[in-house]
């Protein structure tokens, strides 16, 4: 299936003020293959892809495309020449129709007065969608689609320009496992049409399922390329981080005697009247409880309802045996409940403020004297928790947007630990975090449990649930449908519950 390279990069170097983001990187992409591009956050994957698709112009090095030396004048130029990108965060105009989005950027059919021929737009979009096995109606508004369907629209758009290379940047990050399967069969279809795919992802299982070769970058340098079938997870991680890391550490599950202890948090039949129908779970002191389920099964909604971010329409929450009502996050925080939300950028970070202020934000209002912030106290808190969680930053005044995803996440966890919460709710704690930082975050969570914190972890990654949880709950369509302990927490059991099946 693979022939000569369609795209070759030779000695690409790209420097930003103070940082050499890419250092003499060479790689090639072959026709009709799936090339996985791997590396930790900050390794230079996105920069390299931005060079390929014309967003950045390399300082040094050559791009050889179809055997000819090329340089694009910009992303549009690269697109016209057949290089398409599907971004991690989908770039669709959600208030326009599927058809308009599919043909966006391509030549739109117009009549002789220069007015758009809508019928033709829709038929052409429909053809493109059908060619990738989708029966989406081009007249639907994109805002009415699920994330997975929106991704299909992106792919159709990529094809609308006869792409030779499609770059997919973490396409599976927001998909459920069923949808990922669909995406993969689509990738196979594209392969058979001789399209080359560059697949950027952190998820090992996917890499092994879908890719032909893996190219690994580390600290802006090319480390190597391996044939996927000749390698294993350990070798890849070693290539990526330059040392051995153990992320799938299984620990001895904590034993809870339920008759003797009162749960720290007991949630009974909690409902938000929309996506969350029946949220029922308990967490005891020093316990890590996982919550698994497909995307859209109501996991995040459950955490948000506990935290008072959405109004609970029914059900009860008990903290140490006492019924509580959280009318807003503020009251939840005052009672000692902490939530590290799913989307760091949208829900956690104050990007333009310093790392220090991002850590101390919750402690600031309670450490004032006539409204004036007690600088010394706050600085001490910032310093302490930065150290405690090993947040790597030049200094506390550095804007947090300059930190890597892993260090940002550690700063956010530090923020919540600073209030010494009774219950810590973590929603996708390692999303967009590199392997090294991931191991560190796992270590932190284990340590917290040892210190007696109660932790609830929502995660889409099954290995994460399996390696962290003492107990795990599984959600399906807004209901908590299963509870697993110890060895029961395995892939098959979780998937059975998550897809609506029954065990036993």
């Amino acid at each position: 299936m693979s022939e000569g390279p369609i795209l070759q990069l030779k000695g690409i170097t790209k420097t930003f003020p103070g940082v050499k983001s890419l250092d003499n990187v060479s790689m090639d992409v072959r026709q009709g293959e799936v090339l996985a591009l791997m590396g930790e956050n900050g390794a230079g994957k996105s920069t390299l892809m931005k060079v390929v698709c014309g967003v950045y112009f390399p300082d040094e090095g050559d791009i050889i495309y179809h055997g000819k030396k090329e340089s694009w004048s910009g992303p549009l130029d690269a697109r016209k020449k057949g290089i398409s990108v599907i971004h991690q965060e989908l770039k669709l105009a959600t208030n326009l129709t599927v058809g308009e989005n599919v043909l966006m950027g391509a030549e739109v059919p117009k009549n002789k007065f220069g007015l758009i021929k809508w019928d033709e737009v829709n038929t052409r979009a429909k053809d493109l969608l059908e060619s990738i096995g989708s029966d989406l109606d081009p007249k639907l508004l994109v805002s009415s689609l699920s994330v997975a369907q929106q991704q299909i629209v992106e792919i159709a758009r990529a094809l609308s320009i006869q792409a030779d290379i499609i770059i997919m940047d973490e396409p599976s990050a927001t998909l459920s496992s069923k949808e990922i399967d669909k995406l993969f069969s689509l990738i196979e279809l594209l392969k058979s049409k001789n399209v080359a795919i560059v697949y950027v992802s952190h998820r090992m299982e996917e890499i092994f399922k879908i890719s032909d070769r893996c190219t690994v970058l580390r600290d802006g340098q090319y480390v190597g390329t391996v044939n996927t079938k000749d390698t294993d997870e350990r070798e890849l991680i070693k290539l990526m981080v330059g040392r051995e890391v153990n992320v799938t550490k299984k620990k001895v599950a904590k034993q809870i005697d339920r008759r003797k202890e009162t749960p720290v948090l007991a949630v009974n039949k909690l409902s938000d009247g929309k996506e969350l129908i029946d949220g029922t779970l308990e967490v005891y002191s020093g316990e890590i409880v996982g919550v698994a389920g497909l995307v859209g099964s109501g996991r995040s909604e459950l955490l948000q309802a506990i935290f008072g971010h959405t109004k609970a329409k029914a059900g009860t929450i008990k903290l140490n045996g006492e019924v509580i009502h959280n009318k807003d996050p503020r009251s939840a925080i005052q009672k000692g409940i902490a939530l590290v939300p799913e989307s760091r950028k949208d829900q956690s970070l104050f990007l333009d403020l310093g790392v220090g202020e991002n850590i101390s934000v919750i402690k600031i209002p309670t450490n004032t004297h006539f409204g004036f912030i007690k600088r010394k106290v706050i600085q001490q808190i910032e310093e302490d928790y930065k150290k405690k969680l090993n947040v790597k930053t030049p200094n506390l005044a550095t804007k947090i947007l300059n930190l890597s995803g892993g260090n940002q996440q550690k700063a956010i966890i530090a923020r919540w630990l600073s209030i010494a919460p009774k219950v810590l709710l973590l929603d996708e704690p390692t999303r967009g975090v590199d392997v090294g930082a991931k191991a560190e975050i796992y270590e932190i969570i284990h340590q917290l449990a040892k210190e007696g914190f109660s932790v609830i972890v929502v995660s889409s990654e099954l290995p994460e649930i399996m390696s962290l949880s003492d107990r795990a709950y599984v959600m399906h369509e807004g209901n908590v449908v299963g509870e697993l302990t110890g060895d029961q927490i395995n892939q098959e059991a979780i998937m059975t519950y998550a897809t609506g099946g029954k065990i036993g």
């Binding site: 005052q334 600031i364 409204g371 004036f372």
Partner: protein, 329 residues
């Protein structure tokens, strides 16, 4: 575009490099100060009248009103909002203060006028924060109805200021410095301290930077938003009193278009219209820039109509340069 660097690397940097970095940072943040200084140099070369004590005092006094408005506007824009009603509040607070002074001591009347401004701002704040209406719509509405109230209060006629104390707010001196300038400096000093050292001030940056994150960290988003509009109203109230005192009369059609000058000053000062990023001293110099520019052009006998054209173009140019500079850094 910098990636986080381990601490060890950072410490190796010599202090010289740090100093250079700090100067760069200062220039980046305070670019408008440099621009104002350059503009002053230019005008002192072109006109011998520019760099005289009298003229400097004159510029400072003329700038004081728009600077005070810009201070309040900075709070609002830092939260990602906008306040179009301040011009109308200037008029309303002015006519209220003057009509109050007809039946109560002048100091009380002045406080009363400023309070009216604060109340008008409070209503803006409630409508924006509690009812979740867009600020631009809320204040577009209040810009009109507050102006209407000002006309109703006066019946459309100017109200004369009788009290000498009242007049001194606009025309008096404290030592060699005009009272409005002293008020302006006080307003900015307070605003700077509030924004930098108080919990409320930091909350404003957080709400403007990421409202969702602010809510999820327990910050009182609603009350912070209500307060910034109230503060903007109070600043407009102060400006309204000064204006009436300077002109010896309060007019219901005073302050037309002042809101746009204030927004221009804030943006020139480097505060982002998106919210979360900005700097109060920048707004002061943004206002000074506009003041110096029109003063200099007048001294050079540039006709008023042409002044408008030049001012408008300079604003666009300044913001363009700022954008380019930011992108580079």
């Amino acid at each position: 575009m910098s990636v986080s660097q381990p601490e060890v690397n950072q410490k190796k940097n010599s202090t010289g490099a740090n100093l250079k970095q700090n100067i760069g940072k200062f220039l980046n943040k305070m670019g408008i100060i440099v621009v104002v200084v350059l503009l002053c140099l230019l005008f002192s070369v072109l006109s011998s009248d520019f760099l005289t004590w009298n003229n400097i005092v004159n510029v400072a006094r003329q700038t004081s009103i728009s600077a005070i408005l810009a201070a309040g506007m900075t709070f609002v824009i830092l939260t990602g909002g906008i306040d179009l009603s301040i011009g109308a509040i200037v008029a309303l607070a002015g006519v209220c203060a003057v009509s109050f002074s007809g039946f109560m001591p002048a100091p009380l009347a002045i406080i009363g006028g400023i309070t009216v401004g604060g109340l008008a701002g409070y209503v803006n704040g409630i409508l924006t924060s509690v009812s979740r209406l867009p600020a631009i719509i809320v204040t577009l509405g209040s810009m009109t109805y507050l102006r209407g109230i000002a006309y109703v209060v006066t019946g459309g006629y100017p109200l004369m200021v009788e009290s000498n104390f009242f007049k001194s707010i606009g025309t008096g001196y404290l030592g060699p410095i005009p009272v409005p300038v002293i008020i302006m400096i006080a307003v900015f000093a307070i605003a700077h301290v509030v924004l930098k050292y108080t919990s409320f001030g930091r909350n404003i940056y957080m709400v403007g930077g990421n409202e969702e994150a602010a809510r999820l960290t327990g910050i009182k988003v609603t009350s912070s938003l209500t307060w910034v509009y109230t503060i903007s109203g109070i600043c407009a109230g102060i400006a309204g009193v000064i204006l009436a005192a300077r002109l010896f009369s309060a007019q219901p059609n005073a302050g037309m278009g002042y809101e746009l000058d204030a927004i221009a000053a804030v943006v020139l000062g480097g505060t982002s219209l998106v919210g979360g990023v900005g700097f109060i001293v920048g707004s002061l110099f943004g206002a000074l820039f506009m003041g110096v520019l029109s003063n200099g052009l007048t001294l050079l006998n540039v006709p008023y109509y042409w002044q408008l054209i030049i001012k408008g173009l300079v604003i666009v140019l300044a913001i363009y340069i700022d954008r380019v500079r930011r992108k580079k850094s």
